[in-house]
Amino acid sequence: MIQEGTIIENEIREKITQVEQEHNIKLSTTQKIMLCIRGPITTILDVLYGEVNLFMLDQHFEKSDERIADLLKISEGDQIDYREVIVHKNGRPLVYALSYIPTSRITDKIMKDLKEERLTTGKIIDKNYIETTRVIKKIYIEKPTPTQVELFKTQEDMLTREYIMFHDKKVVIWTKESYPLSYFKV
C-alpha cells in the first residue's frame, strides 16, 4: 500500500503548461522532456537517434552588448565567445543552439575545446569535470530567424528554451536551443 507522500513542486511544468495554453497546442512527451532536462540535450538526441553530430555555424569572440552582458552578469564590453551550432543526424538538422560564454570565466583548456567543432558545450563541461548548477530561464515559441529558415527549410514556429549554467557561483554559459514545433512529436 502506498502511503501519501509529499507533492514535489516543479516550476518547469508550469512554464510548459503555460506555453501549451497560450498557443493552444499539446506538446509531445519528447518535447516536454527536452524542455525540462537540466542536462545537455545531446544526451537525449543520442539516445533517440544514435550518435548525433555537431556542425559549427559560427564561432567568434566579440564584445558583449548590454543585452548579452545582462544575460551573463558581466560588464558591457567584456569579451564573450559566440557559438552557434546545429546538432544533426546524417545531415538532418535536429536542434539549433546559440551559446554565449564569458571568456574571462573559462580556462585556456576549455577555450581550446570550444574551438573544437565536434564538442557540444555539454560535452565540454563533462570532459573537464566542471561542477555546475543549471537554471532553465525561459520556455517559449518564437518565429524562426532567416538562419533557422535556411537550416530547417521551414517557416514554422520554433519551440525554444533558454538556460544558464553557473560555476563558482557565476554564469559560465548562456544557451538558447530551438527546433521547429513539428519536430520530436513521436
Binding site: G5, I12, I37, T43, F55, G91, R134
Partner: protein, 187 residues
Amino acid sequence: MTQDKNEANKRLIEKIEDLENDYGQTFSNTQKILLTTDGSITAILDVLYGKISLFTLDQHFGIADESHAKLVNVNAGDEINFREVLMHKGTQPLIYAVSHVPLGRCSDEICSDLLRADIPIGRILKNYKIESRREVNNIFIEKSNAKLRELFKTDEDFLARDYVIIHDDEILMWIKEMFPVSYFTEI
C-alpha cells in the same frame, strides 16, 4: 556538414545497447532517457505525469560496511545517511530509489533536509545551489525482491541504474533508481 563523431554519451548508449542485446528486449525512448539523463529524473516524471509525490520508505543514519563505503568512496565505519524513497502519482508507484550520503561530506543544512522526509535530492541541491556533476555508473536489470513486489504489485524484472553526484571532486551521494521493465513504454 561535418561527419565527425560526437563522443558525448557514447558510453551510455553502448551500455543501453548492450543491455538490450543481453536482455533480448528493446527499451522505449522514455525508458532510455530515464536511464541515461544526467539531470533530475524527478523533473522528467513531474512534467510527464503532473504533480508527483515522494514518499520516504526509510531514512536512517548508519555505519558504512565495506560495500557501502566503496560506493561513496569513504572508509568502512564512516557514518552514512541511508534513504529509500518511492516516487508515485496518486496510488501509482513510478520509481523506487535508494541513496547513500556520507555525513562527513554534507553541510548541516543538507543533513537537516535529508532528515526531513520527502524532499527530493535534486531539490535539496537546487535549494542550496550546490554545484555538482553526475556520473552514471551502471545500467542494468535487477530481479525484483519482496519489497519491490509489495510496492509495485508485480514480480517482473526491474530496469535500474546507479550514479553518483560529485561535489568538490568528492562523491556527495550514490543513488540507485529502479522501475519495472514494463513501465514508461507507452508514454
